[in-house]
Symmetry: C2
DNA sequence: GCGAGTGTATGGTTTTCATCGAACAGTCGG
DNA sequence: CCGACTGTTCGATGAAAACCATACACTCGC
């Protein structure tokens, strides 16, 4: 056996993924209806695939909570994770998620630019 | 003063509405990420405008909770309400909401037909 | 193999939210 | 004006979810 899963040989359990096609709308909406996860998704969208490790995001929570949030995003079919050495790198499942929930991802991302204007 | 607000003269405080344009994505997503509210929206989508009073929906909750759910939907700019005699009738803000969150409403409604197949 | 770096799992606290029951406010028909 | 009907408000309860601190598991460079 030369290599198993990851880029380098990893003896760690690969993270369980849920395909977007198996995700109920409600789960997807709930996953995105959280400020921390929304930030993760947006930052992730602005980075190259597999370029961001879990700990590299700027969110105001401890690593335990952070790990939990990534588990939720994984369970909602929004992100894919892969072990790369000691770190776990991420990727937005843009196309697959888009196929399942057309426009949804684009919607929360567009909101990023729009931000919180609206002073009226 | 001849008449004030409603169809018939109503001396009741008109419900406070939030325009979809003033709604953060997060609020919209959270509002739709609930089974009861999702049912309300879907049933509402299948009915003529202003044809459904709050109490006419088939959801397994008491009227206190139901009233709360409608308040949430109102606050998310998803429904509009108007007093008509003793009852409060509803309307989906299809176009306005669509303008603010393109595709979102259609997404949760399409899911209605799709339902829970996916046995595979 | 040690130790630093990274992420997960566990246990317990706090917050948030859906829900109910009961009391209240309006509307309408007698 | 009374009583049926409809919906809101209030206070309390229970469940779910976010969070932290700690302890653990794995990778890698030395």
């Amino acid at each position: 056996m030369a290599q198993r899963t990851g880029t380098t040989g990893s003896h760690r359990a690969a993270p369980e993924h849920t395909h977007p096609g198996d995700v109920p709308v409600q789960t997807a909406l709930a996953a995105l209806a959280d400020p921390v996860r929304l930030t993760l998704v947006r930052e992730l969208a602005g980075s190259a695939e597999w370029s961001r490790a879990c700990g590299s995001f700027d969110v105001p929570v401890g690593k335990a909570a952070l790990s939990h949030h990534f588990a939720v995003l994984r369970g909602a079919g929004i992100v894919e994770q892969r072990d790369e050495g000691p770190k776990r790198v991420n990727r937005l499942r843009r196309d697959e998620f888009e196929a399942r929930f057309p426009g949804l991802l684009e919607l929360v991302l567009r909101e990023d630019r729009r931000q919180d204007r609206r002073e009226d």
